[in-house]
């Protein structure tokens, strides 16, 4: 009896299971059918959409390809431009020019100067740069004075050192090497003693190591050390005794000049520099039919400071050169000293900049000083019109015929490019 009951139960379970499987199969079949119907509906919808918009799946693929192609083309163009922009070598023409007018006491006013100073920059990658400046100045006799202000190549040895070779502007002080270009100088004239044959050396022919140093306690600094051919000492064409400290390609049979400058930037917008040089100066001596050079002791030193903040600008510099005695020469030695202090303020909204400068110059024969007051109009930061008045005093030259004490009105139009 018991076996019969178990058999009935098992038969019921198997039968109900078989019936359940049959139900599932039916359901799957229905679902498949519904899915096929939905697929058909989707297809028809797609077709009708294509008919309405005229935009087929083929078109979509084509548009996508065009976009990809256009993007690729643009990338190639960018790469080409990038490649040309970063080619290893190339050059640039920069420079400045100026046009001057002067009205001096006791003389007719005149258009007194035209200067054009192109600067050529050549660069090879990040390792080398050549820079050269020519200066063309129209003379009062109509001729043109040409000067190679500097022509030097710099090999960048690392981030902190460049080896400069050739003719470079004197690293002593700041005015000569950085501030003399007409569009940078805030007055139409140089400070006394900072021109050619003044107290400040102008250029050197030799080699220099220079660069910026790693920051120490957030203070930046830079340096130059150099060795160059010696300056010469003698009587110039106008009869003045001068130290000609412009670069020459001869050692003049005397030892080289060694020198350098070190500067720190203690606060933003400020630089304080000290510089010096030592060596011999060559003096040409004529004995009978023979001409030869004798060596005169030579040294120079300078201090300079620059500060600029919120439109206010201050610059000051002191520089002097000394020539020692030599019994073989009829010329005495002495001191050539020049210094200046200059303040200006830029009213940015008015584009106007008033300037005041004091400068003086001393040498064994002269004691001069000058006050200059001026105002500049900035058409652009590199296109400037200047008007200035100079009060000149020469304490050792009071001859009536002399023009050393004549005051002057100066105007200049200068631009940098």
């Amino acid at each position: 009896m018991k076996r019969f009951v178990i058999g009935i139960t098992l038969s019921s379970v198997v039968a109900s299971t078989l019936l359940g499987v049959q139900d599932d199969a039916l359901e799957v079949k229905q679902l498949r059918q519904e899915m096929n119907e939905l697929k058909q509906m989707m297809f028809e919808l797609k077709r009708s959409n294509e008919k309405l918009t005229g935009y087929t799946e083929k078109d979509a693929v084509s548009a996508s390809s065009e976009r990809e192609f256009s993007k690729l083309k643009s990338t190639v163009e960018e790469m080409k431009t990038e490649l040309e922009g970063n080619s290893k070598s190339g050059f640039q023409l920069a420079g400045y020019a100026a046009f001057d007018w002067t009205d001096a006491q006791g003389a007719d006013n005149e258009f007194s100067g035209v200067k054009f100073a192109p600067i050529f920059h050549y660069q090879y990658g990040q390792i080398f740069q050549f820079e050269g400046e020519l200066e063309f100045i129209s003379q009062d006799n109509g001729e043109v004075e040409t000067e190679l202000e500097y022509a030097a190549g710099t090999l960048f040895l690392n981030d902190y050192m460049g080896l400069q070779m050739g003719k470079f502007l004197s690293p002593l002080g700041q005015y000569v090497q950085n501030l003399h270009p007409s569009w940078i100088n805030k007055l139409p004239s140089n400070p006394l003693g900072f021109g050619h044959d003044g107290a400040a050396p102008t250029s050197n022919v030799g080699i220099a190591l220079r660069g910026g140093l790693p920051q120490v306690a957030d203070i930046r600094s830079n340096y130059v050390v150099f060795v160059s051919n010696a300056p010469t000492y003698g009587v110039a064409d106008d009869g003045d005794v001068v130290i000609d400290a412009s670069g020459k390609t001869t050692a003049s049979d005397v030892s080289k000049t060694w020198g350098g400058r070190f500067a720190v930037n203690p606060v933003a917008g400020m630089e304080i520099g000290v510089s010096g040089a030592i060596g011999k100066a060559a003096e040409g001596i004529t004995v009978g039919a023979d001409t030869f050079n004798i060596a005169r002791d030579y040294d120079a030193y300078g201090f300079d400071i620059m500060y600029n903040a919120n439109g206010f600008d201050f610059k000051a510099e002191h520089i002097e050169q000394h020539i020692g005695e030599n019994s073989a020469s009829a010329l005495e030695g002495g001191k050539w000293r020049a210094r200046y202090a200059q303040a200006s303020y830029q009213f940015t909204s008015l584009k106007i900049e008033p300037v005041l400068r004091y400068s003086d110059y001393h040498n064994p024969e002269q004691e001069k000083n000058q006050w200059a007051v001026g105002v500049n109009y900035l058409f652009a930061n590199n296109v400037i019109a200047k008007l200035a008045y100079e009060y000149n005093t020469d304490e050792d030259d009071d001859a009536v015929s002399s023009s050393a004490n004549d005051n002057r009105v100066l105007a200049q139009f200068a631009f940098g490019f």
Partner: protein, 95 residues
């Protein structure tokens, strides 16, 4: 005095050459943020600022190398200032 100058030159040369290693390990990528700072602190000390649009990208590259020598900038400072100027340019160079 002359010997002092020569000694100074030699010492400076040695010390600065040691910096080659420092330089090699330094971050070479330019930072326009630092460039802006160096630009603001340095350029106006000598001259009026030139707007980024005044020169082409290529001309700026050469000008900055020139200013590296003139202003005593380090290589990194030069790259930083150049990056800042180029990022600040609002006009595109002619192709």
């Amino acid at each position: 005095m002359k010997n002092i100058m020569k000694s100074f030159t030699v010492v400076a040369f040695v010390l600065l050459n040691l910096s080659i290693n420092v330089s090699a390990s330094e971050e070479k990528k330019a930072s326009s943020v630092n460039g802006a700072q160096v630009w603001a602190d340095t350029c106006m000390r000598c001259h009026n600022l030139r707007a980024p649009e005044d020169l082409s990208k290529r001309a700026w590259k050469y000008s900055m190398q020139h200013m590296r020598v003139r202003a005593g900038l380090t290589g990194k400072e030069t790259r930083d200032v150049l990056a800042f100027i180029l990022e600040s340019k609002t006009t595109e160079d002619a192709k």
